[in-house]
Symmetry: C2
Subunit: 218 residues, 2 copies
């Protein structure tokens, strides 16, 4: 069977999220590079795959998906019987926790962390001055979120219980990059969050993906 086609670039946070999911599920895939520097993601052939003109896009036969979290959810459901059980299938209590953890990442963690990532990695690349006020405001928000995580992780190894799930995986991209900056202290200063991050980032699937996350490297 033809492998899944993932249109994106390994250094992109959202592409990396999907790659980590595919690796955890032992799903064969090929990367179809998208040349962001020439605006390939804004051209009609790409827009026909994702009308928002953003990477990644996953093609699975005649099924085309975009939005990294949607793609991960799809993969986790479709391949529920292989690789890591990222959704706690067949365990309603566990599944509920995974759903909650995924939405906490999406609605609390991601909007808080986004500006720090943007102004630390993306703005300089585009020759823009980082907005320190935006960074400072975001740091305050991230602290609030991570204080809740610290408490949650004092009673379970992972965010949705004692097994690694999509709720944890979805955090991999942003934290990987943030750990390369002085903001790493947001993670390192919270013992349970730090231990959680060490467990998440040292997984073979995580290591395979994060080695390609080269933004900010020379």
């Amino acid at each position: 069977m033809a492998p899944l086609k993932l249109h994106g670039v390994p250094f992109s946070t959202c592409t990396a999220r999907v790659m980590a999911c595919l690796e955890e599920k032992n799903v064969e895939y090929e990367i179809c590079p998208v040349d962001l520097s020439t605006g390939a993601h804004k051209r009609p052939d790409f827009i026909s795959k994702n009308p928002f003109g953003q990477i990644p896009v996953l093609e699975d036969g005649d099924i085309t998906l975009f939005e990294s979290r949607a793609i991960c959810n799809y993969i986790a459901h479709k391949y529920k019987d292989q690789g890591t059980d990222l959704l706690q299938h067949g365990n309603l209590h566990g599944f509920a926790k995974v759903m909650v953890g995924c939405e906490v990442e999406s609605q609390q963690f991601n909007p808080a962390m986004g500006p720090i990532f943007f102004h630390t990695f993306i703005a300089p690349m585009r020759g823009w001055a980082p907005d320190q006020k935006a960074i400072d405001e975001s740091v305050v928000k991230v602290r609030t979120v991570l204080d809740v995580y610290e408490k949650m992780l004092s009673s379970s190894k992972y965010l949705a219980g004692d097994s690694y799930t999509l709720a944890d995986l979805n955090h991999l991209p942003y934290i990987t990059y943030i750990m390369k900056t002085p903001h790493a202290d947001l993670i390192n200063s919270r013992p349970h969050v730090k231990a959680w991050w060490e467990a998440v980032s040292s997984r073979p699937a995580s290591l395979k993906v994060t080695q390609g996350m080269t933004l900010g490297s020379k």
Copy 2:
């Protein structure tokens, strides 16, 4: 069996989202009102249910969930065999579209629409001057998102195909409120989006919920 307990208030957008889902699935539930005016959602007994101190919270026996989209996803999965099939269960292509549509709402529509809602309904309630610049910037973003919707809805009745799903339902709260403002033109000026909204908002489950969405009313 004891009905599910939904902690929240019917005029809140996120509580309304969950109510619409419960109504579509014909699930019995009771509303446990949370007195936001006295800060009941920030007290220890509520924080023990949702550490972020936000409504809504759903209690289903010994399972406690928060984050409205997580709750909806849980309900749609748990009660997959009753009421409206909000996830296109058993149809991988359809399920993929629902996942994508839900994430588009969460990552594209919601962040774009949020500031318009906040500065039109919430800021005045708190005695704050609305931030017109923030509203104007958001209107531009919402237009971009709705232009994509207009195209998507020219080839299918709903966002994830020709059946009503969670991808549509999740939009109900914000658009219900926006339609009470001059920004209603964002919807009304796009024929396919307008027809979609008329179909979404006229559903019995939608009507039952939106009658309680009284923010901005005298």
